[in-house]
Symmetry: C2
Subunit: 405 residues, 2 copies
């Protein structure tokens, strides 16, 4: 059989309505890639991972012959035990291994929480500028996101209160308040403790749970973070998710959900994947239990250095045309260009020149306000690639929009 | 926060209609477990996997810092290249790495193909006795499965032709013919070449594609198998899926889809998980490229030996009460008990005695006919556990149903 024969059966009449568009064939990575959650390859703890995987396989590798190892459907127990200690030490969360579900990345966590709580026609509250993957999931599910504006301290509580009040008057009870409170994506802000208290009060008053996505929380420059909303909640109305993608490696697909059993028991019924990848859970448990607290500060320093290269390069190449706040941590910078710049168009032109960026409208539910904004991820490219990529981006932007002058 | 506080926020009013029931807390594996696709731990090629993971990480481990490594969204390219060679050699399939999508186990492959083709209210054709996970997925999706009876050569083509004709008269075009033609689950049958040709003719005549699930095909005692339906199709209307769960280890969640681009390009748009676990793909590619063809015959011999222990033990303990056909391969035996035995009740009583079985009605769309049937998986328990478990099962069955006499 050859490709021509492949084409002869017509599948088109069988496809249901509402499928997303077909994707184009992948043609390789672009030269200067400022998109995606890719991490700093030089900061990957490779020797530590090799030692960990060897040790854990030699000790208990034969358990790979059993679905879920000997840990049941919530995931490899030593990894959950590590998370219990880590979440307590870092985020103030008091939970047990029974409150944790290991997932295939925090993307599966998003899918599972959404499947547990959402139905077509529902409404949820999210940050106005928000992770594209979260926005796209809501769109596909037919759920309406109400975007709350952010300032330099994250979600604005006055705007949240107003939105909740407005929905209440309309008889709409949103299913959750989705927030990335600790290194927000894309703004890099951290919600202060007082706002967390206010958010929890509003959540309780309106009976709307909080869906807390803490996947960047390990990457704060100062190493100091407020307690998680989950930790501060006295009523338990917080579902917390996190990931090892940003702290160790994104291609290891391991995330987690911390949730009360009345949610977890429904979520587990929807996780029909035969368990998340066991080897990746095993190597993370083995490596992180011994090394996480030493590895992460090194990674942060490496990321901070790249961020400084990026900010310096933007100032050099764009001058007064570019605005951004120095983010509190993370792997991305949220950048504002002058009003005349349309970053969806800039994206296309830059890609043709070998530079990939995230155009603002894809990372916001306020498409018009985000029109001249873009997100630049800095963890993966080298310092030299950052400089060259930004230089190229500025050239493209000047050619397309006369900016910088 | 303690568990009591967890309970104080009431999530129940937020749950959408139609969720599956809450699961019970996992309480550990039962003593004699004849369920699930667990494999023979002694046959796991542990040293080979350790050597493979060390080699591949040392060589290219830093690519873990990039989503999808450097291989794009269809999965780790060396694993796809291995599959191209394996599928050609074993199943006669001529495809390229671009025709293959690596998935998180063949369960994700099932979900993705279903999401690509099915909508609520659709009809599909499946084998009457069929993998529980496939049946349950259809139920959840609101899709009607039409079950085709099997005989010792797999799906009966006369019954398939009749069902297709009947549906056509009703104006119903089923979305696919789902089949496990090569070591069928649960019957262990292999569809002969002539039936494959007939099935392909019916598929073409009715414009109904074939969804071929070959996840047990590596485990044929004789090592000889008919070409895959995908290989025999001249029109390309076959979607083929497979897995490494049965040939290497189930806790490594790695499966694959072979499909034409007009399907693949829609399926890829639905695979929004950030890629399947990269380390598991890397270790499988590294190990299998060098060792698959040596490992699998050893595994088959080990499984065949356990099957013989199981069949012998059933004859000894159940005598003339038990009927089964010697399966052509695989990890399970489909067993018939006398008409008076209700295996759903037997399941409950056996579980209380520390023996887990798969009751027939859960593995069939013909619940009444399957009432006195059960599936016994033999790969995971030791020979001694097989003997003890079957002895206990016979005692429970005698106590509950007077069988064996």
């Amino acid at each position: 059989m050859n490709s021509a024969a492949f084409a002869s059966f017509d599948f088109a009449p069988l496809l249901p309505a509402g499928l997303p568009p077909a994707v184009a064939r992948w043609t390789g990575r672009v030269k200067f890639d400022f998109t995606g959650g890719n991490n700093d390859a030089d900061a990957l703890p490779l020797e530590g991972l090799v030692a960990a995987v060897t040790a854990v396989l030699r000790r208990e590798g034969r358990s790979l012959s059993t679905y879920g190892l000997s840990s049941g459907p919530q995931g490899y127990r030593p990894l959950r035990e590590f998370l219990v200690a880590k979440l307590k030490a870092d985020a103030g969360i008091a939970c047990t291994a029974d409150d944790i579900l290991i997932t295939s990345g925090s993307l599966q966590a998003l899918d599972l929480v959404n499947a547990t709580l959402l139905a077509r026609g529902d409404t949820v509250i999210i940050e106005e500028d928000c992770y594209q993957g979260s926005i796209n999931r809501l769109t596909r599910l037919g759920v309406t996101p109400i975007g709350i504006p952010l300032d330099r301290d994250g979600m604005r509580i006055d705007a949240l209160a107003a939105a909740l009040g407005d929905l209440k008057r309309k008889g709409i009870r949103p299913k959750y308040i989705y927030t990335i409170p600790t290194v927000q994506n894309p703004t890099g802000t951290i919600l202060p403790v007082e706002r967390r208290q206010d958010m929890l009060r509003l959540s309780a008053a309106h009976g709307v749970p909080i869906f807390e996505d803490d996947c960047y929380a390990d990457l704060i420059w100062s190493g100091e973070r407020p307690p998680a909303l989950h930790a501060m909640s006295e009523r338990g109305g917080v579902i917390h998710i996190g990931s090892f993608s940003k702290s160790i490696a994104p291609a290891l697909r391991v995330g987690y959900i911390v949730a009360p059993w009345d949610v977890m028991s429904r979520t587990l019924a929807l996780k029909t994947d035969g368990g998340s990848g066991a080897l990746e859970q095993m190597v993370l448990a083995e490596y992180c239990t011994a090394n996480f607290s030493r590895h992460v500060p090194m990674l942060r320093r490496s990321l901070r250095a790249k961020l400084e290269t990026l900010m310096e390069s933007l100032k050099q190449n764009f001058g007064a045309s570019v605005e951004f706040d120095d983010p509190k941590g993370g792997i991305f910078l949220w950048v504002k260009l002058p009003d005349g710049v349309d970053t969806l168009k800039l994206y296309q032109a830059a890609l043709a020149a070998g530079v990939a960026i995230n155009p603002g409208p894809e990372w916001s539910v306020n498409k018009s306000r985000a029109r001249n904004r873009l997100r630049l991820c800095f963890a993966s490219p080298s310092h030299e690639e950052i400089n060259q990529g930004v230089t190229t981006l500025a050239e493209v932007c000047r050619h397309e929009f006369g900016v910088p002058a």
